[in-house]
Symmetry: C2
Subunit: 333 residues, 2 copies
Amino acid sequence: MNEVVTLAHGNGGRFMRELIRDVFLRHLDNANLDISADAASLPPASGTMVFTTDGFIVDPLEFPGGDIGLLAVHGVVNDLAVMGATPRWLSLSCFIEEGFEIARLERIAISLGRAARDCNVAVVTGDTKVVPRGHGGGLYMAMSGIGWRDPEIMLGMANIRAGDCILVNGTLGDHGTAIILARNEFGLHSDLHSDCASVLPFAAAATQIPGLRFMRDPTRGGIATVANEISLETGLRVVLDEARLPLSEAVRGVCEMLGYDPHYLASEGRVIAVIDPAYAESLLAVWRSIPGGDQAAMIGRIETGRPLVVLSTRLGGERLLDELEDDPLPRIC
Amino acid sequence: MNEVVTLAHGNGGRFMRELIRDVFLRHLDNANLDISADAASLPPASGTMVFTTDGFIVDPLEFPGGDIGLLAVHGVVNDLAVMGATPRWLSLSCFIEEGFEIARLERIAISLGRAARDCNVAVVTGDTKVVPRGHGGGLYMAMSGIGWRDPEIMLGMANIRAGDCILVNGTLGDHGTAIILARNEFGLHSDLHSDCASVLPFAAAATQIPGLRFMRDPTRGGIATVANEISLETGLRVVLDEARLPLSEAVRGVCEMLGYDPHYLASEGRVIAVIDPAYAESLLAVWRSIPGGDQAAMIGRIETGRPLVVLSTRLGGERLLDELEDDPLPRIC
C-alpha cells in the first residue's frame, strides 16, 4: 500500500477499494457493514427513532486523551444520549487531504473502532473523498447516528420552568484546554487530558429520574453557550454559580494565564441536565455514584426575569455571560 | 448579516445561530427539523430501514445542470433508491471555508431544499463547521439518508447469475463531462448539462419487475467501475456492448478531443440494473416509458469465464476495461 493517501484513493477504483478494505473495514468491521453495497439494511428496533449528524475538524487530529475518531464517536453518541436515546448505528464520511499518512489514518480508524465497540454502536455505512493538497485540513469527518428512545421520554427546552436546577456531571472546559495545550503555541505543558468520553451512562441514569426536563452536552461554546440557548429559547433567566462550577486546576491555570474564559470552553464528555428542584439532589447522588462522576455538581438554576445568562461570582457580584461573538478557538471539535 | 462566512459562524454562538436560521432553516424548514435540539425524533415507518452516507467535494460548486446541494440530495436519494428503498430523512453536515460568500451558500441551500421537496425527503438534522481560510475547498458537504424498503426486496451482487442482462436508464458520463467543461480549462463550450437527478422513479419501477438482481448508480468511476465491482464480487465476466452504450454527442466529442474514456466518467442521474434475461425486455420497456428514460438501453451481459470487464467494440474486437488506478478527474462529486 502507498504510505500516503493520493487522489487515486478517492476515484472509486482499486486504490480506494484497498484503502477501504485495509483501513476502514479492518478496524470497523461488524455484521451490518457491507462495503459492496451503497447503504446498510438494518434490523428492526423498537421505540422512537432519533437521528443526528456532526462534523469534526479538530486540530491537532490527535491530542492528549483522544483523536478525531474517538471524538466523532463520542460526539454523535452524546448527541443521541442527551435526547434520552440509546445510540445504535453510525455512518462515517471522511474528507482526506492528499498526502495524508496512511499509518495515521489507520491509528485514527483503530481508535474510532474501539470507541464504537465501547459504546455498543457500529459504523454500518461510509464514504471516502480525497481532496487535493491545500484544500483540506488533513482529515475532516462527518458522522451521523441513529438511536432509539422510549417514546415516553420527552426531553426538550420547552419543558424548562423557573425554579429548575442545572447540573453537570464533571469538570468543564477540559477538552478545549487540552486542545489549546496540544497546539503548543504557548510553550505551556500540563498533564491535562481531554474529557472526551461517552455520557451515555449519565444520560441513561438521568432519564430514570422523574422531573428531568432537558439535557445537552456543552461542546462548542461551553456551558455559557448552552445557558444562552436555554435563555433564548425559554425567555427565562439562567444563573450559574461560579463557586460551584467544577473546574480543574489545569483549566483554571491555563485560562488565567492566556485570558480564556473557561465558561466558553468545550467539554466532550460532559452533560448538562435541567431538572425539577424536587429531584435535583437525587440526580446529583446518582451521577456521583457513576464512575467518573465524582465531580458532578449542581451549578445553577432557572429564574424568572430578563432572559439573560448571569454568573453569580464568588465575591457576590454578577457577571453577564453573553452569547459568543468572535471565535476564541477555531477547530476545537 | 456579514457577506462572507467568518470563523465566528462556526463557534456555536450568535453568528452561527443566525446563519443556521437565515440560510439553512429558511430554505430547508420542515415539520421534523428542530434546530433547538441536537437530533431529530422521527415518526415510525414500516419496512426494513436502509441507511447511507456520502461526501460531496465537487469543483466547481455550481455547474450547468446543478450544484453541490442538488448533487448531495440526489446522491443520497439514489444510493437509497438502488437498494430498493424509499428515501425519507436526510442529515446535512457542512464544512464551510472562512470567506465563503453567504449569498452563494444561500443559493445552494435553496437548490438543496427544492431538490429535497421534489424527492419527498426532508433534512431533519444538521451541523455546520467553519474551517480557516486555506484549509477547505469553499464548501464540502456530507449527507446521510434513511429510507425504508419492502423486506421482500432483496437486491445485491450475490443474486447475479451468468446470463443476466445489464441495463442503464439513459446516457452515460454527462455529469463528468459537464464538470470538465465547467472548469473551463480547455476553452471548450457546449450546452451539455449534468444529468444530476433522482433515479427513484426508475428504481421503484424496476423493483416491480420479477428477476431484478441488483442496481447501482454509476457515479465516481462510471459504468466501468460498477462493472468491475460486479466482476470482482461475483467472479464472473462482464461484457459491455460498445454499440449499445448510450453516449451523447457532447460526451463523445469532449472525450475524443481530450482523451477521456467515457466509460469511466460519472453520471449522477443514472441507474444500472442487472436482471434475469427473461425480464430484461420488460424492464427496458418500462424504463423507456418513464419521462427521461427514452435513451434507456440494454448495454451488456454477465458471462462465465475469467472475472474481467470486457468492452465488445463496434469493430468486433474486445477491449479490457480495467479498474481505475489513477484519478482522471478529482472533485467530480
